[in-house]
């Protein structure tokens, strides 16, 4: 099954190798891995999606934690996190493309339906940008293919994940949030204990992957 880990790691040379080497050692295939800056100075946030047996999650997480460059690791399920991917798709849209002069308008229509954006328009091609769950991106690509559009290039970032609501990590809680008031006991008293699991599944009612806000 697919596991998604979100790791906060130090931003130093060789960190990616250490993480990748861990998965190689465990003989686990990385499906996707995204890295970028986080809210904290000198740390990156990674989202690692990997294919591993169901029981392996604890060990992968604990092994990631053993790396000295790791600040925090979270394993997130689909229902508890927003999982998104960014995709760029270049489609042939010139007079000589399969749909000829109609290409552009038809691609525009598809883009509207899928809430993709046109980010580049060239005489012979259109570039679409789409953000969403992997299934939606695959949906757009499939529709383009089935409608005989000529896909010239596809570039996908792989999945990024962020847990919904307040984070549950006691490590991050202890570190506090950068830019805000330092974490104090009084603040803590008013806040619910986010470490507790929600009492029922209803709590997650608005968290289906297809519901997401369009960014402007």
């Amino acid at each position: 099954m697919l596991h998604t880990f979100v790791a906060l790691v130090e931003d130093k040379p060789g960190v990616l190798t250490r993480v990748a080497s861990l998965f190689r050692r465990l003989n686990i295939n990385i499906v996707s891995l995204t890295v970028g800056e986080s809210e904290r100075a000198d740390t990156s946030r990674m989202t690692i999606v990997c294919e591993a047996p169901e029981g392996a999650a604890h060990r992968i997480r604990a092994s990631l934690y053993k790396l000295e460059i790791t600040v925090d690791v979270d394993e997130v399920g689909r229902s508890e996190a927003v999982i998104r991917e960014l995709c760029l798709i270049k489609v042939a849209a010139g007079p000589n493309s399969p749909h000829g002069q109609q290409s552009r308008s038809q691609i525009f229509e598809l883009a509207t339906v899928f809430r993709a954006r046109v980010v580049d328009l060239a005489p012979e091609s259109i570039m679409l940008e789409m953000t969403g769950a992997a299934s939606k991106i695959e949906g757009l690509i499939q529709v383009l293919r089935e409608s005989s559009f000529d896909i010239l290039e596809v570039s996908r970032t792989g999945r990024m994940a962020m847990r919904r609501g307040h984070h549950t990590s006691r490590v991050l809680k202890a570190l506090g949030t950068p830019g805000s008031q330092p974490f104090s006991a009084e603040q803590n008293a008013d806040e619910p204990d986010y470490a507790l699991k929600p009492a029922s599944e209803d709590f997650l009612a608005n968290q289906f992957p297809e519901v997401h806000e369009e960014e402007q």
């Binding site: 250490r18 934690y65 053993k66 000295e68 490590v171």
Partner: protein, 583 residues
């Protein structure tokens, strides 16, 4: 407050030694070379003794042996390129057995990094999977923080080796150095290391409900310094204790609750007791395959409680019912007050009754038939230590193979850190250099090398190091003309096809003599004790070449993939003994 004096400016090389001295390092094991020369040049200014090895692998094993015998961090050094790659086996050995070692390697100048410069190798890349962490340092001002962190990482949580690769220009450049801020960093607790109180309650309930509990004592007991707590725990509930290979010594072998070693070559009653147990208490051990045999049939009736500092070990090999993650000493201190005392010793009596004929079958209890068995040699080394009242002041350093298992069976370890052996990686050639490390750490102790004729030849060059350092190390070579464990497997599983297992050896006594070390050859049982006594009391290094029975095998034995209770017992009447008429 004292007036602020500006921090002195030192070279990178001087900063390294200053930080090492600050960490309490008194001895380092190493080998100089081009890329580490600035560091060696600065050595004379610092009160640290450098042991020149004959091969860098030896340096890593010495640092390892030093750490195992003393509990302090061992330090080894090598130059770039081949010097660094020669450390690899030693670092892997330390990694698999969780030994705190810091390795310092020289590296080519940062300006030519990555250009395949002379003696350049990507040692941080190479050692990535066999170190707990490693650093590449290219600036003088980064040396102190990196080395301090290296010591902290090596010691913290589950210990392990850390490598610091320092470029030559960083060694030569200068930086401000403040002795105060370069003080050792405290041991860092792991953020995940916190056992839940609900788990404690579950553990207590399981312990109170258990009728046939067994405590599995691992290396973590000594790592945590929890020997007294474990013993108090076992005594409070009358729980028999089985030990892993690296757990030997953590519990006195002579203690009534101590059963002996478990696993592939463990005693039959120990493994049988584990299989019949209804509760296994795994303390600082990791259910290695040599310990469990076939996982599917391992302790089928037993609930399992695992106290372990490394969360990634939980449920790795054996699924456990309760995991208490954390330092063993602290965890037991919380657990112990919750347990009422229990005095029922019926389970222990039952186990002792199951020993049956095991002792009678044992080779050391059979009459002398003129043949010399390795078991006799090891038994006599133990009796010598016992007779001299040096049981707590003897360190046995073994190599890997049959003699290692015989040592584990026949030397009764009473004290922690009295056995130094490569358990996880099984590194042949480990014994001689590791013994040099152990003797350097504990010069007042008797240090014995017990090695086979195969493994001894892998690192025999370090005999010269012993002489140069003037170390009184006793060496017992268990010489049977074979790579014994390989031969035993070939006998059992490969139809006696002794492919490449017979090994020719030099005359080890002459070899020792060539280094200036006295020696003797022993081939009869009656000469063992007197020679062992002579070696121990000689006050200098002494090598004994024991010509032992060629085709002897280690029993009991569990075939790979077999269950613990399916062990092959010692032969009822040793067939070898019956052929003793020729004597």
């Amino acid at each position: 407050m004292e007036p602020q004096t500006p921090a002195p400016t030192l070279t990178g090389a001087e900063i390294l030694w200053a930080v090492l001295a600050g960490e309490g390092v008194t001895t380092v094991f190493g080998y100089p070379g081009g890329a580490i020369l600035p560091i060696y040049d600065a050595l004379r200014k610092f009160p640290i003794h450098h042991v020149l090895v004959r091969h860098e692998q030896g340096a890593a094993h010495m640092a390892d042996g030093y750490a195992r015998a003393s509990g302090r961090v061992g330090v080894c050094m090598a130059t770039s390129g081949p010097g660094a790659t020669n450390l690899v086996t030693g670092l892997a050995t330390a990694m698999l057995d969780s030994i705190p070692v810091v390795a310092i390697t020289g590296q080519v100048s940062s300006k030519v990094l990555g250009s395949d410069a002379f003696q350049e190798v990507d040692i941080t890349g190479i050692t990535l999977p066999i170190t707990k962490h490693n650093f590449l340092v290219t600036r003088a001002e980064d040396i102190a923080p990196a080395v301090r962190r290296a010591f902290q990482i090596a010691r913290s949580g589950r210990p392990g080796p850390v490598l610091v690769d320092i470029t030559k220009d960083a060694q030569q450049a200068t930086a401000a150095f403040d002795f105060e801020t370069a003080k050792p960093l405290p041991v860092r607790p792991h953020p995940m290391l916190r056992a839940e109180s609900t788990s404690f309650q579950q553990a207590v309930d399981l312990i109170l409900g258990a009728r046939r509990p067994i405590l599995l004592a691992g290396h973590g007991i000594t790592q945590s310094g929890a020997e007294a707590e474990v013993l108090a725990f076992a005594e409070a509930r009358q729980i028999p204790i089985a030990t892993t290979l690296l757990g030997l010594g953590s519990i006195p072998a002579g203690h009534p609750l101590s059963l002996g070693m478990m696993g592939m070559h463990g005693e039959s009653w120990v493994n049988t007791a584990i299989q019949q147990s209804d509760l296994l208490l795994a303390f600082g051990m990791r259910f290695d395959d040599r310990v469990t045999g076939n996982i599917a049939s391992y302790a089928p009736k037993a609930k399992k409680i695992h106290i372990e500092i490394d969360p990634s070990e939980i449920n790795k090999n054996v699924k456990v019912d309760v995991a208490l993650i954390g330092d063993l000493k602290e965890t037991l201190a919380r657990l112990l007050p919750q347990l009422p005392k229990k005095m029922d010793a019926s389970w222990l009596k039952e186990i002792n009754a199951s020993k049956g004929t095991a002792a009678v079958r044992d080779i050391i209890n059979l009459p002398d038939n003129g043949h010399l068995y390795a078991a006799h040699v090891i038994h006599d080394i133990w009796r010598e230590a016992q007779a001299a009242g040096r049981e707590h002041d003897t360190v046995i350093v073994t190599d890997v193979g049959q003699h290692q298992m015989w040592e584990a069976q026949y030397f009764k370890h009473e004290a922690p850190r009295s056995l130094v052996t490569s358990g996880g990686l099984g590194t042949m050639g480990f014994a001689l250099p590791a013994a040099i490390g152990a003797k350097s750490a504990c010069p007042q102790k008797d240090v014995w090398v017990i090695a086979g004729d195969g493994g001894f030849q892998m690192t025999a060059c370090e005999l010269s190091t012993i002489v140069q350092e003037g170390l009184a190390i006793n060496i017992a070579v268990i010489n049977n003309g074979f790579l014994g464990m390989v031969r035993q497997w070939q006998e059992t599983f490969y139809d006696k096809n002794y492919s490449a297992s017979p090994i020719l050896s030099p005359d080890f006594v002459k070899l020792a003599g060539a280094h200036g070390i006295e020696g003797a050859t022993v081939s009869t049982r009656r000469d063992v004790t007197s020679t062992v006594t002579h070696a121990r009391t000689s006050g200098k290094a002494f090598l004994i070449n024991f010509h032992v029975e060629k085709e002897d095998a280690v029993y009991p034995m569990i075939a790979p993939g077999a269950a613990l209770h399916e062990m092959v017992r010692r032969p009822d009447r040793d067939p070898l003994l019956e052929t003793a008429e020729d004597e």
